[in-house]
């Protein structure tokens, strides 16, 4: 984490621009390509086309087709190439076009990217940032709405970051790419078009730090990615009933900010974890365990989980029923309040 402290920015003169999450990621990639000649951006359609979500728009034109380039439609080869490039001193930022298509590359990610540094006793660090458009919410076909965070967080050697808004997307990507460890950077597709003012500033908190999005005192909602905004909505509605909910954006799913979670939940005494992935062995179980281990004496109710269901990710029209609804989160909050 020392690299971050060196990069802590001054608080004055931070430019603020209104950007969508797509544009914020594009902006961060542009700055990373400009600041470090070892940064390479590659993947399916990221070059000439500019990415299926326009995230890499214009980068090939600006930095050339040696540094921003298209690959064959072969996810395992994309990650294998990233390993070789990293071993030769480059800083690869590959994209796998959609969450569900990371599965063909799992061997490279788990067996090579995550372990090479350990295997070589630090001789071959893997400063790779895998950009992975992730999660559901855009009514896409099968394989385009998966939540793989528990799989990556469970793999020793990987870090996992999930931005929830444009400013977070900008800052977390700078941190991820500058880190000498491999980071899986999961972009919540349903928030790509979310436009907000973005402070173009250096990351001000270390890797692994969560953030309080909205303070409250009756219960803590813990989420990441698109579910953060949903929890903010829930908190706004709960406020109408006189219930003040704190919303914590985990941001880093590996390492998890145990101290930050404990600080919040020991104050509110109740916690609800919300994620899109299925319930069983999802990351909500890990968060619930961490909260319980660290706040057992303070908890007024068992930690609740509101998640997708234990079924394959459903086709578009069923998505609204599958993803945690506002009412399902409110019901879980009520269970903790009445316990």
């Amino acid at each position: 984490m020392t690299e971050l402290i060196e990069r802590t920015a001054t608080t004055t003169d931070v430019p603020v621009v209104e950007l969508s999450m797509q544009q914020a990621i594009n902006r961060a990639l542009r700055e990373l390509l400009a600041e470090d000649p070892d940064v390479l951006v590659f993947g399916e359609d990221v070059g000439a086309l500019g990415g299926v979500f326009r995230v890499t728009d214009g980068l090939q034109k600006e930095f050339g087709d040696k540094r921003v380039f298209d690959t064959p439609l072969a996810e395992s080869a994309i990650m294998g190439m990233a390993v070789g490039l990293a071993m030769n001193g480059w800083r690869p930022v590959p994209e796998l076009q959609f969450d569900g298509f990371a599965y063909p590359a799992i061997d490279q990610i788990v067996n090579q990217v995550a372990r090479m540094n350990y295997r070589t006793r630090g001789a071959a660090p893997m400063p790779i940032t895998l950009r992975l458009p992730s999660f559901g919410g855009i009514q896409a076909p099968e394989h385009h709405g998966e939540s793989l965070e528990a799989l990556f967080a469970h793999t020793p050697g990987l870090k996992v970051a999930v931005p929830s808004d444009p400013e977070e997307a900008y800052g977390l990507l700078l941190q991820a790419v500058r880190s000498d460890d491999p980071v899986v950077y999961m972009e919540p597709k349903s928030r790509y078009w979310d436009r907000r003012p973005v402070r173009l500033r250096e990351p001000s908190s270390p890797i692994g730090a969560s953030r309080v999005v909205r303070p409250g005192r009756h219960a803590t909602l813990i989420a990441w990615g698109a579910m953060v905004q949903r929890c903010v909505r829930v908190a706004e509605l709960a406020a109408e009933d006189g219930v003040e909910l704190e919303v914590v954006d985990l941001r880093w799913l590996k390492p998890i900010d145990t101290a930050g979670l404990a600080e919040s939940v020991s104050r509110t005494k109740r916690a609800v974890v919300v994620h899109e992935a299925p319930l069983t062995a999802g990351l909500g179980a890990e968060v619930s365990a961490l909260v319980t281990e660290n706040c057992f004496g303070d908890l007024a109710a068992p930690v609740q989980r509101v998640t997708g269901f234990d079924v394959p990710y459903p086709a578009g029209p069923l998505e609204p029923q599958y993803l945690p609804t506002i009412d399902r989160v409110l019901l879980a909050v009520q269970r903790t309040l009445e316990y």
Binding site: A140, D241, I326
Partner: protein, 114 residues
Amino acid sequence: MAQENITFTLPDLGEGLVEATVLEWQVAVGDVIERNAPLVEVETTKSAVVIPSPQAGRVAELHAEEDQVVPVGEPLVTFTVETSDDAPQAGIVGRVPTEEARPARRVRLKPPTD
């Protein structure tokens, strides 16, 4: 609202076919059609197929006569579509989610007494 012309080229209809013969247009210049509406029937060396429209819009130009052979990758049809400068464009897959200004709810909360 601005207007934009989008040209659709003949796709490879499978397994490396290099050309197709236009059998029958199912739209005419000036027609306003929906995405996936039947566009044109073409014949390849393997079969005759109806190509659905990849695009909603007004048909601006048909680039081939009936019975004409069109190489894969050559222009087939041009659409005129309305575009809004600030409307978010979805990717190739999926659609831009809409957010309700005031989400529906059925559950009411009771504040805790402690």
